[in-house]
Amino acid sequence: MALSQALFDAIVDGKAQLAQSLVEAELKAGADALALVSETMIPAMDEVGKLFQEEEYFVPELLLSARAMKAGMAPLRPLLAAKGAKPAGVVVAGAVKGDLHDIGKNLVTSMLEGAGFQVIDLGADVAPEAFVAAIREHRPQIVCLSALLTVTMESMRTTIAAIKAADLRRGVKVLVGGAPLNERYAAEIGADAYGATASDAVALARRHVGLSN
């Protein structure tokens, strides 16, 4: 199946209603659900990520495209589940305890979903024990921790320590992100990697599950 240009454009342009109706029309015309995702929708979100890196797109455009992707995925999810299609990987994500700022985390989760990952989004102000419980339940390959504030950065360290204490650390890659962080701090608290932007997070997640960027 070739790329559906109209659907691709609808996602890149951030038009949610249009994206959903185009997916429904494609399905009606006999398109394969998996092919729609892998050949049109994921490449569309890749284009969005590229535009963001090039500073053609900014947070508002990224949010609009992520919403369009989500709307397009709505009619596809039950079909993909019925087919037993496997996600690119499983991710548990959340803003750490004490931090209520979730825009950055939401961007990362949307972009990861757009890249074919299954994301278990724990929300904001997530306690270390909630991360541990989610890892036990969902067995992710990747855990994403987000913090905007200098006063909550330390919650990342305690979360990683809790994951380690629960003997779950070796099974997951921990990615961290947020304005006050940097590579050095990520290494210091025992994270596997630091992503400065949502696109970086997707690239890192892909690398960790063995996909090329």
Partner: protein, 427 residues
Amino acid sequence: MNAERAIGPKRKRVLDAIHHRTPDGAPMDFGGSATTGMHVSCVAKLRDHYGLEKRPVKVCEPFQMLGLIEDDLKEAIGVDVAPLMGRGAFFGFDNRDWKPWSFNGLEVLVAEGFCTTVEPEMGGTLIYPKGDLTARPSGRMPKDGFFFDAVIRQKPIDFDHLNPDDNTEQYQPLTEAQLDDIEQDARALESGEYAVFASLVNTNLGDIAWVPGPDLIDPKGVRDVAEWYMLTASRPDVVHKIFARQVEVGIDNLARIHQRLGDDAIDVIFLCGADFGTQTSSFCSVKTFDSLWKPHYAEVCDWIHKHTTWKTFKHSCGSSERFFESMIEAGIDIINPVQCSAKGMDPRTLKEKYKGRLVFWGGGVDTQRTLPFGTPAEVRAEVLDRCEIFSQGGGFVFNAIHNVQADTPVENMVAMFEAVKEFNGRR
């Protein structure tokens, strides 16, 4: 009150700096506005450190839990600026009739309208708009947290029938009683000892702190933060109408304040706190800024510059340099917080490029790393370096990069003040 205020040494230092003349030292602001303050716990620690009269600190800005820096502490640390903020606080109640409140075991004073409950399970603190405990809470502080965040109370949005008026409920003409309060507070600053930094009119265009309507009982319109960001890209027509209304009311309020207080009562006026920068990039392109924000900023600044001698103050966190030329063209005189840790915000480059055209009010020390996590020696070195860079030819008011956060070691804060004094002593 229309008399001219005297110009004491502190006020003169600030006036020289904001008019790009070389002052006798780097002037300092702490507590002048809601983006140049200190967490209430820091203010309490400093009062203890300097052995000032023991009394609970007033929470003058309840959202970020900023503490009032009274004259005795101003004197101890070397502050040259005084706030003129009116009584209206962030959550819609007035800052008056103070009562004790325990903040994580620290006794502080909060306004009578500061009404909270504790969440049954999570243990967070909920705060209510206008102090109305029957309303849905509009702010939440996590358990063991240090300040509030807005609770998003978004009703379903009908994108086909967006009404810009729904988003302008917060922007109302000042009442005569509010003007009386402002006049009374301004009179207390008549001596001219301090430069007066006024934050009296809500011309915060799209400031994400205000978008959720924390001061409203039942906010309508687009109140979700992500929805607002998307609106700026998908429906600029609606955003223009919101800004236009806000500016219309804002200018009318400015005119009435000016009529009441006269020109000399205010030196600097807070224009807007909307952030355009992120740590590594920005929230929009310069093109979007120029089309969506700049005309509205220009309208307010034109009025201010045409009718007053006040200098206009714009706060924008993060990597904001790309917008500076547009901001200058719009009539913005002062930029804050000058987040040197963000991409493209190298202090030397900024000073070189904008010397004489833009006042840097901030940039004094990094509050993401150096001030909270560095050693006093590192704080001293950074402060001296920043003062050296930014002070040349005036155009610099020392302030940390945004509010000093809770848990900042007192010895680092003291090292910061001492370094400014050391720099000023060398001159």
